[in-house]
Amino acid sequence: MQKKVTNVTINPGLKEDIYYVEVFRGLWITNRHFVVNMWRHTLRLFGIKTKEKGAVTYQYPEERRPIHHRWRGRHRLTRKQDGSMRCTACMLCETICPCNCIHIVPGESPNPNVEKFPEQFNIDVLRCCFCGYCAEACPKDAIRMDLLEPEISGYTRDIIFTKDFLLGVTDDRPWENARLEAAYEEDK
């Protein structure tokens, strides 16, 4: 297959020296944008759908960008159908995490049919780089990053997601737990 070499040097000529021709062409482009976008905004204001929006921006917090379902957002721990947690404290996610931000303390499970479970499961989310390796490594589908939740914030410098929070059984951030509950409903 051929790869041609092209010389693309532009040597400005008389038309560029005259200056006004190009300036008016530029003004034509910017003005057309103004008129077209204004028209679209106006139509949408009256509820008439146009093919494209007037601007690519979104009026965040009122309006949210649709996020693709592959988005790696905040973590959650999944549950089995009976509501108990899936994680068996196998430590794979702790091992693969490149930022060392998962801390698991394994313990004996109260359920006699399950050997191990995590007594503590903390994610130091300010260290997390959202690489998605933990979800990829988990052999039990116990940790997922599918909440489509891009905003993670807190009032202190140590945002640690505890086991209860990741499972959605605390109420320290009720607004986020609503989304978790919806996700669990969908799993069923």
């Binding site: 693309v8 490149p98 959202f130 052999p139």
Partner: protein, 393 residues
């Protein structure tokens, strides 16, 4: 007391609006004219190479995202290709074509950002906003492929973390015309505009010989008239299957670099279209249990898959390339991005060295700005597209 003829010392940066990325240029000025200068870099040093030595081969991919964060995908691909060279494996055709598509998307994204920043610093804010719109389109496509906009972390040694979604090809095809329109408008707004031309023509010139001496690659080398492109001269992936043109300039000034970047975006879009035409079906990972993670059905469903998963992830196990060293280069938007990896047969790199393409450009700033006015530094600096993450690693 200063005598009127003594040069004045002025420190530009580290936090100057035009030195995006952190860098300090120490100027010696005679009035407005630059007599001499030194460049001070390293403010963003994060120890990438050292970090790689303490992480498994696959874990280091995360750190390559943070090199050139505007085109993270190409860094992922470059690093993985180096490790694959060490392992002496070849990725399946579908993986290679997908890597080409995503490389070219990242190239478009990087050139858009670079041009936008460059012209914005010259005062063309409208053009900046138009290109940001097109960049948003590209980010949406990248998010669709890998689940993140900037920190992609999409490739794995021996393939990809996941195949693209089924509607990916259609989404790209639907977006390419919009990106073309933006490029066209950008071109019409600026390329022939005399205000812009007067600002950038014959500014920051380098000759062919100088550029080669300084180790330039990429658009800056091509602007001087040397048709060097890693994609053409040492084809990697399946670039030899595609037709595209290599733009070269003749003056090596900021204007030529601008025109070349604009032209390359169009070529990248054409490569994407050709690649989508012949995107083969099939697996995206090499079929080798010691490299690729098993399919999720096997992990959940049978003991072999489960053990395989553990063996690839546990400390001290995992991918173990044979002892040796390997250098491989890819054509990043800025030039030749090389990774040199050394293995001692362990599950971690013994050494991972990155050749950042913008390092030689930044080192040549004193040469390029000598004799120019202080206001010319800004377009020159914009045209070299210095990325702090990549420069200081």
């Amino acid at each position: 007391m200063l005598s009127p003829s003594a040069p004045m010392t002025l420190s530009m940066g580290p936090s100057h609006p035009a030195t995006h990325g952190i860098i300090r240029i120490n100027l010696q000025l005679d009035g407005e004219r630059v007599v001499d200068s030194t460049v001070d870099m390293g403010f963003l040093h994060r120890g990438f190479e050292k970090m790689c030595e303490t992480h498994a081969w696959n874990q280091a991919i995360v750190y390559t995202d943070r090199l050139n964060y505007v085109s993270a995908m190409i860094n992922n691909i470059g690093y993985c290709m180096a490790v694959e060279g060490l392992l002496e494996i070849e990725t399946p055709p579908r993986c290679q074509t997908l890597r080409v598509i995503l490389s070219e998307l990242s190239r478009v994204e990087d050139h858009l950002t670079c041009l936008a920043a460059q012209v914005m610093e010259c005062g063309a804010l409208t053009a900046f906003l138009y290109t940001m719109k097109a960049r948003e389109y590209v980010y949406e496509l990248i998010e669709m492929a890998c689940g993140a906009r900037v920190t992609t972390n999409w490739t794995r040694v021996g393939g990809l973390s996941m195949d693209v979604p089924p509607d990916f090809a259609d989404a790209i095809k639907a977006r390419i015309p919009s990106i073309r329109i933006v490029n066209d408008e950008f071109n019409k707004l600026l390329t022939k505009n005399r205000i812009f031309i007067d600002r950038v023509k014959d500014v920051g010139c380098m000759t062919k010989e100088e550029a080669i001496d300084w180790g330039f690659t990429g658009p800056l080398l091509r602007a001087t008239g040397v048709p060097f492109d890693v994609r053409r001269d040492t084809p990697y992936l399946n670039y030899d299957e595609f037709d595209f043109e290599i733009p070269i300039g003749s003056n090596g000034d900021v204007y030529d670099r601008y025109v070349i970047r604009l032209f390359e975006m169009e070529q990248s879009l054409q490569i994407i279209e050709q690649a989508l035409e012949k995107l083969p079906e099939g697996p995206v990972n090499v079929d080798d249990m010691s490299i690729t993670l098993p399919a999720k059905e096997d992990v959940y469903g049978n003991i072999e898959g489960l053990i395989n998963q553990f063996k690839l992830i546990m400390d001290g196990h995992g991918i173990k390339p044979p002892p040796g060293e390997y250098y491989s280069a890819v054509e990043a938007p800025n030039g030749e991005l090389g990774f040199y990896v050394v293995s001692t047969g362990e599950d971690k790199p013994y050494k991972c060295r990155c050749r950042p393409p913008c390092f030689p450009f930044t080192a040549a700033i004193p040469k390029m700005i000598k004799g120019h006015l202080v206001s010319d530094i800004v377009p020159i600096f914009g045209s070299i597209n210095m990325i702090g993450g990549e420069l200081d690693r």
